[in-house]
Symmetry: C2
Subunit: 196 residues, 2 copies
Amino acid sequence: MKTSTPRPAGRPRSQEADTAILSAALDLLIENGAGQTSIEQVARRAGVTRATVYRRFADKTALLVRALEWINHDHDPDFTGWRDIDHMFDDWAAHLAVTRNRRLLRRLYGSVDDYPELMKTYHEVNGGLRATVVRQMLVRTREEGLLPAERDLDVVQEMLTAAVINHLGSHPDDEGAPAIKAYFLAIMRQFGYRPA
Amino acid sequence: MKTSTPRPAGRPRSQEADTAILSAALDLLIENGAGQTSIEQVARRAGVTRATVYRRFADKTALLVRALEWINHDHDPDFTGWRDIDHMFDDWAAHLAVTRNRRLLRRLYGSVDDYPELMKTYHEVNGGLRATVVRQMLVRTREEGLLPAERDLDVVQEMLTAAVINHLGSHPDDEGAPAIKAYFLAIMRQFGYRPA
């Protein structure tokens, strides 16, 4: 239906199409990887035309980057932190116990040579608030005497990231949250962590 | 040239074709990843026919698995260990300072969902002798009092692997061997390592 008045500039985009496109992009990224995902496939999976996708996203990279922001940030806008480091590992373990999350993170890592923008965006989105809160957890843990005073928290924090990536690559996808939490705690103990 | 006598069963295969095929397979794996590599491309790159490749390898996975064994094991048949843990980190840093090695390892990790056989083979080939020698280095380091007696060497060893994977994903490819060695030593210090 044509209208005689021009559409106002700031009007909301079609939310349904947005959601369908971003969901389809994430599904295809997880199933096939960034290299094997195309705008055409995303449009087909989302049930929209290619033109509908291109009106929103300049290219595949822009689409995948937005899909990552959407799943990582928009879905959890109320995140303000964890109660303590034990709660943080509960949260990480629950996240890593979900195969879909694991495959998405592996696809991200696996795209580093072909689509460096994806990893960069993931780091920016996750690296802001979340990295700050992880650091706060580590600082507090050390202040409470549960980590040795001489620990370099830059290195410890980087090793926790390394532990996540390693887990995705060398532990089975059905390991379960309790075992994953135990994995993180065993690593922390090697850094001298002693729970209260 | 035809010969009237049948070829003996155990005769050496054409070494040149073998080398050309395995080199081409590795190059394409590094450049494009396992998913984007085909037997046809490998044959073209190696300057042989597809039939020549298929006489040696049943399929792409068998070819890539053999190429990994070839680069990781056959190239270094005389490896018997490192002098000490410092020498081990020198060796790791030198290896990780070469972009081609980094890209190969990233492609391996990136293939985990599409070609789990590749990662498995890499672990088997590298996981045998090398893992044993890494463990010996850690045991000796702890025995010499350079690591706290209570360290769980299973966890420390797994975290050194994690550190390698993490470095590949989040440090620049031109970092250089001295900085990479410093990275490993900084991690070891968080485990309580104190060099002699």
